[in-house]
Symmetry: C2
Subunit: 198 residues, 2 copies
Amino acid sequence: MHSKLLDQLIQSLRCLPGVGPKSAQRMALYLMERNRTGAALLSETITEALQRLGRCQQCRALTEEAVCRLCSNPNRDQSLLCIVGSPADMFAIEQAGSYNGMYFLLTGHLSPIDGIGPQEIGISELLTLLDSRPVQEVILANNPTVEGEATASYIAALLRDRELSVSRIAHGVPVGGELEFVDGGTLSHAFNGRLRLK
Amino acid sequence: MHSKLLDQLIQSLRCLPGVGPKSAQRMALYLMERNRTGAALLSETITEALQRLGRCQQCRALTEEAVCRLCSNPNRDQSLLCIVGSPADMFAIEQAGSYNGMYFLLTGHLSPIDGIGPQEIGISELLTLLDSRPVQEVILANNPTVEGEATASYIAALLRDRELSVSRIAHGVPVGGELEFVDGGTLSHAFNGRLRLK
């Protein structure tokens, strides 16, 4: 408005997900008026991350090293391999803290209509990894969406002849959720996947 | 988690206002996985803004020039001077689009308990500006908070002996608001400031 450069800053902040015009304006004013140290650090960190962040050779997660900290951790169980569709899913599983195996990151899910086939999401890299590592169980943690389910089924079929077990994470009623507000598909899954207690 | 640099990026994104751990993570992954061009542009723009954005010599708003685009616009009414407490307020007034005069930006409001006196918010710069410009009316658009009202009263008292009119923006019921949900203080203001129609 009164400064072209400030307008440019507001515009470039809008590339961040979930940031609209008002938030971008608030962020730009905050960075320039109140926290120039934070702004300088942010700019430097983004530049450094752009230069140095690549993919881990094993799990394909973002990392600045050849093999990420998680894959090179000797305390993790090498016999378990969890397959996820996005880095955010990997973060969520790690934050839950109950899984101690390895990961493999697909770049998305199969979606033939968008031209995304097995090569695009990294299936061949997955097979190479399985050939070279002592994996005994593959856990399919793809999203419970149509594409996620299709990808999980495809991988399960592909691994049928190998000597390893393949499992899918359980679908059901979320812990703390109320049955009344759970959708029909989830309830059907919860009934089909019921566990015998006695 | 699996990358120190990615953690640093998430941490530095948290300096933005309104960005918590989950949003910062989402932003970092988005910038690195999906929009490296946008990330590079953002980093460059922040650096450039840090180097070049200073204060307008007249209104003290953020600008990369000596005098901002608004102050150097010959179509604006030089006889009106609107005093605001923050750049965001100035943006809001400009976006409303009904005001065509000049601005002066105070750096906050008077708050003696926090050690913020007239010198800290730029009162002397305001007086210098009034001496050098053909201002006929000063419009006090400080926030309707305790500090904002105190600042407005202080400035009004300071300008009492000058040959210019001083006004305060109207307080009352917001347009589109319902009386039922308007607080008592605002309603009192709306009654005290009522306009005679006939």
